[in-house]
C-alpha cells in the first residue's frame, strides 16, 4: 500500500462530490510527485509540460476513478499513460514496464532533496551579500520591498543585484554544459 493512499483518496472522494478545497490540496500534492516522476524520465524541461498535461487528464477523466479501488493506482495509470504517450511522440523506446505506483509516489522527496542540494551548491558560488538577497527574494518568497527594507538598499538596487546574480549563475551553468 502506498503511504499517501488514504489521504489522497479522501481528497479525491471529496473532490468528486464537488469540494474545491480538497481538490486543490489533491492537485498540489500530485504536482510534486508528478514533477519528480517526469523529471527523472523526461528531463526537467519536458517534465513541466508532461506534469501539466497529466493534471489536465486527471481533471478530464476524474469520473473514471472507481472509489472501490486504490486512488494511487488510478493516478499512476494516467501518469504512466502520459509518459508512454510522450515517448511515442518523441519516438523514444519505451522502457517503463517495470515501474509501479511506488515509483510515482516515492519519487518526489528524493528529487526535491537533490534539487535543493543543487541550488545550495550554486548559491555557494555567490558572495555572501548577494547570496542572502537571492535567497530572500527567490527562495523564501520575500518581496523586493521587504528585502530592501531589511538590507537598507533601494528597491531598484535589490532588483538589479538579484538579476545580475542569477545571470552570472546562469552563465556558469552554461559554461558547465559547454564543457561536457
Amino acid at each position: 500500500m502506498i503511504p499517501q493512499e488514504a489521504e489522497y483518496r479522501s481528497w479525491m472522494l471529496a473532490a468528486l462530490a464537488g469540494d474545491a478545497a480538497a481538490y486543490r490540496m489533491l492537485l498540489q500534492g500530485l504536482t510534486r510527485h508528478l514533477r519528480g516522476y517526469y523529471a527523472k524520465r523526461l528531463g526537467a524541461a519536458a517534465a513541466e509540460d508532461a506534469m501539466q498535461e497529466t493534471l489536465i487528464a486527471i481533471h478530464a477523466k476524474r469520473a473514471t476513478y472507481d472509489p472501490a479501488r486504490p486512488f494511487t493506482a488510478w493516478v499512476y495509470g494516467i501518469a504512466r499513460y502520459k509518459l508512454v504517450d510522450e515517448y511515442r511522440r518523441t519516438k523514444r523506446a519505451a522502457a517503463v514496464s517495470l515501474d509501479d505506483a511506488g515509483d510515482l509516489f516515492g519519487a518526489d522527496e528524493a528529487e526535491a532533496a537533490s534539487a535543493k542540494r543543487d541550488v545550495e551548491k550554486l548559491l555557494a558560488r555567490l558572495p555572501q551579500a548577494k547570496r542572502d538577497l537571492v535567497r530572500a527574494v527567490k527562495l523564501d518568497g520575500h518581496s523586493i520591498a521587504e528585502a530592501a527594507a531589511r538590507t537598507g538598499m533601494s528597491e531598484t538596487s535589490v532588483k538589479v543585484t538579484v538579476h545580475r546574480a542569477l545571470k552570472s549563475l546562469g552563465e556558469e551553468l552554461g559554461d558547465n554544459h559547454a564543457d561536457r
Binding site: 473532490a15 468528486l16 462530490a17 464537488g18 474545491a20 481538490y23 486543490r24 492537485l27 498540489q28 504536482t31 513541466e48 506534469m51 501539466q52 493534471l55 489536465i56 487528464a57 481533471h59 477523466k61 476524474r62 469520473a63 473514471t64 476513478y65 472507481d66 479501488r69 486504490p70 494511487t72 493506482a73 488510478w74 493516478v75 499512476y76 495509470g77 494516467i78 504512466r80 499513460y81 504517450d85 505506483a101
Partner: protein, 213 residues
Amino acid sequence: MQTDELIAHLTGELEPVRGAEVVRILAAGLALGILGSALLMAVTIGIRPDIIQAMGGGAFWLKFTYTLVIAILGLKLVERMGRPGTDASWPALLIAVPVVALMSMMAMQMMPADSATRHALLMGHSADVCSVLIAGLALPLFAGLFWSLRRLAPTRLTEAGAAAGLLAGSAAATIYAFHCTESTATFIAIWYTAGIALTTLMGAGLGRFLLRW
C-alpha cells in the same frame, strides 16, 4: 501557463461527478451499437423466417446463451479497461468457462460420430460465411464501443481495443443468432468462436490508433 494558475483554473471549474458516469457512457455506446447492428442485420441478411418456432427449441438458446455470457464478461472487461489502474484479469480468465463448456459439448458430439457426420457437424451449411457475417455485424458495435472507450481513460490501448472487439463480436453474434439456422454445438463452438476471435483481433490491432486520448 504556471502550474499554480492551472490548478486554480481546474479547481475553479470543478463540478460534482455523478457516480454512474462510466456506466452511462458505456451504456450509450453499447445501446447505439446494438441498435445499429440489429438494424444492419434486419435490412441485409434478415431475421430467419421461422424465428418463433426456433425460439421454442434448445439450439437457439444454446447459441444465444453462449454469446451472451461472453458479451457480459466482455462488458465487464471494457468497463475495467476504461478505468486506469484497474486489474482486468478475472473477467478475462472467466471467458474460458463458456468456451471450454461448449468445446466439451462439441467433443461429445464429435467423438461418437463417423467421419461424414463429423464433416457435416463441423461445416453445417454456412461455415463459409458465419464468422465473416458476425464480424461485419459487429462494425456498428465497434464504433459505439470505441466512442465510449475514448470518453473513458483506457491506458493499455491494445488490450482495451481487444476487450471492445470481444464485446462487439459477442454482442453481434448474439444478434446473428436471430438469423442463423445452424443448430449444433460443434458448429457454434467453431464458427461463432472464430467470429468473436476475429473481432477481438481487429480491436487489438486498432486500439493503438483509435483509442488515444
